[in-house]
Symmetry: C2
DNA sequence: AATTGTGAATTCCTTCACAGCC
DNA sequence: GGCTGTGAAGGAATTCACAATT
């Protein structure tokens, strides 16, 4: 286990490895080599070994990695052995879709609060049965529900003030869907999902003559990285 | 205008610059220096100048960049001067939220088709008034509606076959929300939005002692980059 | 005087290649 | 023999720093 700072490119890949290990475990596979794992994503086996080596020596020379063992290590490293209680701010289409989304691990990531500013929505239950609360009570909800992650799904103009209130209430991790650059806060990690940037990236590709090219790069298997937000957090307190 | 290949990090930043220029134009600002623009995102002014220099010389020494002029150049570069007709596959929570989403430029990105495999949904209109069509007719819909971008919002197991059918019908650009690594196709650009990776990245941050650190890095203003999919497309035909 | 455009330096990330171990 | 872990090499992205230009 080294102490140098770990790139977010590395931790994103750890998520990918974990997902793959989950599938391998479900399929009853017991060991896997970095080479075999690498082939799943068109990536370099040394990359995988390096990524893992930041955190320990999990492999066995001549054998590879024990699937269940490595899987457990990755869950530890990624902090997935404890729950994360999530509040979604914004009960519009996107917020409600996220509240109902079945895609992420419901065991680990629990959506326990849903807030909005619209009086017509406050007090009524979403499909999940979750009561929509007043965004003005965000700080109180964060404390009451022991929220560790806030998802911002409000219009761009309202996003900054939601971040202000969430961080004032002690939240350290925010997933922002509003198409806006939020001002950085000390000690707070903000990840952005910016659909406009993603679509414009596709548009750029379509506009190029080289748009007829071939994608044969392992990098084409990860989510889209910001050009101005890699979400790197520097210690300073 | 250079011919070297442009990094997706660069093109993502161009989207960010454009958004900022839109705001500046709306505010009546006429010129802006790379330094002033850089301060908006905590990024380096040389970075902005380098990014722009890949495509031409848009600035005026001693003055900076004319906001409207640069804005128009960026719209051209990003291919935003023509429409993109979009089909969303999957009329679940996420697909419907995207169909109703007001966040992106509705002028440029038009959602003109919505498909699903559920017989209970096919034939009924979504809130937008768009009729939900049978995903089995995807190829036909793509041709009829002249779709250039397909958004995949189906469960992970179904995503690969949607990509197969879309690319067989000639689609070159895909935005994938399914939490799965799709197999690369020649000449097709796939951008992934992977909420699991984003949340696990936040979880990792929260699990570290250094989670008390300060984020003061310009990179914290962009969307999340894949660890295994930067969406790079190599020309090969 | 101010600001761009860009070669050089730096920093960061990936890949190679091999010693070390099972 | 096969595979990991890692130092060294290579490549890519960022930042510096300054000549060129208005």
């Amino acid at each position: 286990m080294k102490t140098e700072k770990i790139s977010e490119l590395t931790t994103n890949r750890l998520s990918v490895y974990l997902r793959c290990l989950n599938e391998l475990a479900a399929a009853g596979v017991e060991t896997i080599s970095s080479q075999a794992l690498a082939e799943q994503f068109n990536l370099n086996s040394a990359q995988i070994r390096k990524d893992l080596a930041y955190f320990g020596e999990f492999g066995v020379r001549g054998v590879g990695y024990y699937v269940n063992d490595l899987r457990e290590h990755l869950r530890q490293i990624l902090g997935l052995t404890r729950d994360h209680r999530i509040a979604i701010v914004g009960a519009g289409n996107l917020g409600l879709a996220l509240a109902n989304y079945q895609g992420f691990n419901l065991q680990t990531f629990q959506i326990v609060a849903l807030l909005d500013s619209d009086p017509g929505k406050i007090g009524s239950p979403a499909r999940t049965g979750l009561l929509i609360e007043d965004v003005q009570n965000l700080a109180e909800v964060i404390r009451r529900e022991e929220i560790s992650i806030v998802i911002i799904a409000v219009p761009a103009v309202a996003a900054e003030s939601v971040l202000d209130e969430a961080t004032a209430a002690g939240v350290k991790a925010v997933l922002n869907f509003a198409p806006v650059r939020l001002h950085p806060k000390p000690g707070v990690k903000v990840k952005n999902v910016d659909l406009t940037i993603s679509l414009e990236s596709l548009s750029y590709f379509l506009a190029r003559p080289s748009a007829t090219g071939v994608i044969v790069d392992y990098r084409d298997f990860l989510p889209t990285e910001d050009a101005t937000e890699n979400g790197q957090a520097q210690s300073a307190g």
